[in-house]
Symmetry: C2
Subunit: 211 residues, 2 copies
């Protein structure tokens, strides 16, 4: 496939940049072509429609973030629960710089398109759910270590639901950051999340008090 993918990837990169800043609908095909430095012909050669580009961008985003988090330092923590806290701390550390840089493409897009473009919505859901799924095993392991059922029969909450809650807090934090014009409140919200999980596992094992 030669050097193919050049234009395609430039368009995808442009989509991630522009959609995060302006939203999907407000980002026009021409905007994307200018940002990517390609012509409209090239755009519609690689993507059947703007909707298809949206779905492809969500998938690309999913792969990019998966690789980004797979290489993140929090994986070096041996203890599952410690790794979870390191993950949250890592997410908090990212909340710096411009809003459009730490914000989630999938969360931004799905709000706009969930009704009008179910295809894009599904891709966004996959991105968020797949990322949450990378946290569930550590949560489940931490629960098991403390004699809790990961399916929630002893606690009322499952490892999966806590993993998704983690993402809900982050997505909500992004909204507040956009509303307030800065990441400060987002950081505080992530700190609340960290405190919640600490309490959750501190109560579960009262023999070891909080450090």
């Amino acid at each position: 496939m030669t050097r193919t993918g050049t234009a395609r990837e430039k368009i995808l990169a442009a989509a991630i940049k522009l959609v995060r800043a302006k939203g999907f609908t407000a980002t026009t095909v021409d905007d994307l072509c200018v940002e990517a430095g390609v012509t409209k012909g090239a755009f519609f050669h690689h993507f059947a429609s703007k909707e298809a580009l949206g779905a492809a961008a969500a998938e690309h985003w999913s792969k990019m973030t998966a690789a980004f988090f797979a290489e993140a330092p929090y994986h070096q923590v041996a203890d599952p629960l410690g790794r979870l806290f390191a993950y949250i701390q890592f997410r908090r550390d990212i909340l710096r710089g411009e809003l459009a840089e730490f914000t989630c493409l999938a969360g931004t897009m799905v709000q706009e398109v969930y009704a009008a473009h179910p295809v894009i919505g599904a891709a966004c859901n996959a991105s968020i759910s797949d990322h949450a799924a990378t946290l569930a095993p550590d949560i489940a392991a931490a629960m098991c270590e403390r004699g809790l059922d990961p399916d929630g029969s002893t606690t009322g909450w499952s490892a999966e639901s806590l993993a998704l809650h983690t993402q809900a807090v982050l997505q909500g934090a992004f909204i507040l950051a956009k509303a307030k014009g800065g990441p400060t409140i987002a950081e505080e919200s992530v700190e609340h999340l960290s405190r919640y999980i600490r309490l959750l596992f501190t109560v579960a094992e009262p023999s070891r008090s909080a450090p």
Copy 2:
């Protein structure tokens, strides 16, 4: 001013309905006029621009929700902390029916327009922040009852930050609901929030264990 406001309010109602379902950018002025049953002339008589309509819609939303929550039954609970839990339970009970019915206009809009339309963004921020501000006094009172400083000097978190975190969880829950196509996960996330606050205040007053 006679029966004035008829068209204006019909347009605002249309905006709240359509923007929640389709987003701000994807909702056209013509869409709004058709939904409201008015002509374009009437639209631009009442609103200087689509942007002005967006800001007015956010303000209208803020007033509507303020009135809605002011009359909600959770205010009948005497205890401040109990009232907070009743509020969260109330928010959870609302998560029924169609997505566009329980979703927050301000949170939906601010994601799209925070960069391109700061005027609308500011109105959305006011809506969210003002609503959070109605919770802070109860949280502060509950903290004081337990000897905690509402500014966070004893706990590391302030009443205001917890109030905003509450909204972050709700906003994030809405995103997950849209992504997953149903409110189930949103409910679970709100339950996590409730559990967090219970733990927060249970630990603070260990003499009274959870009910």
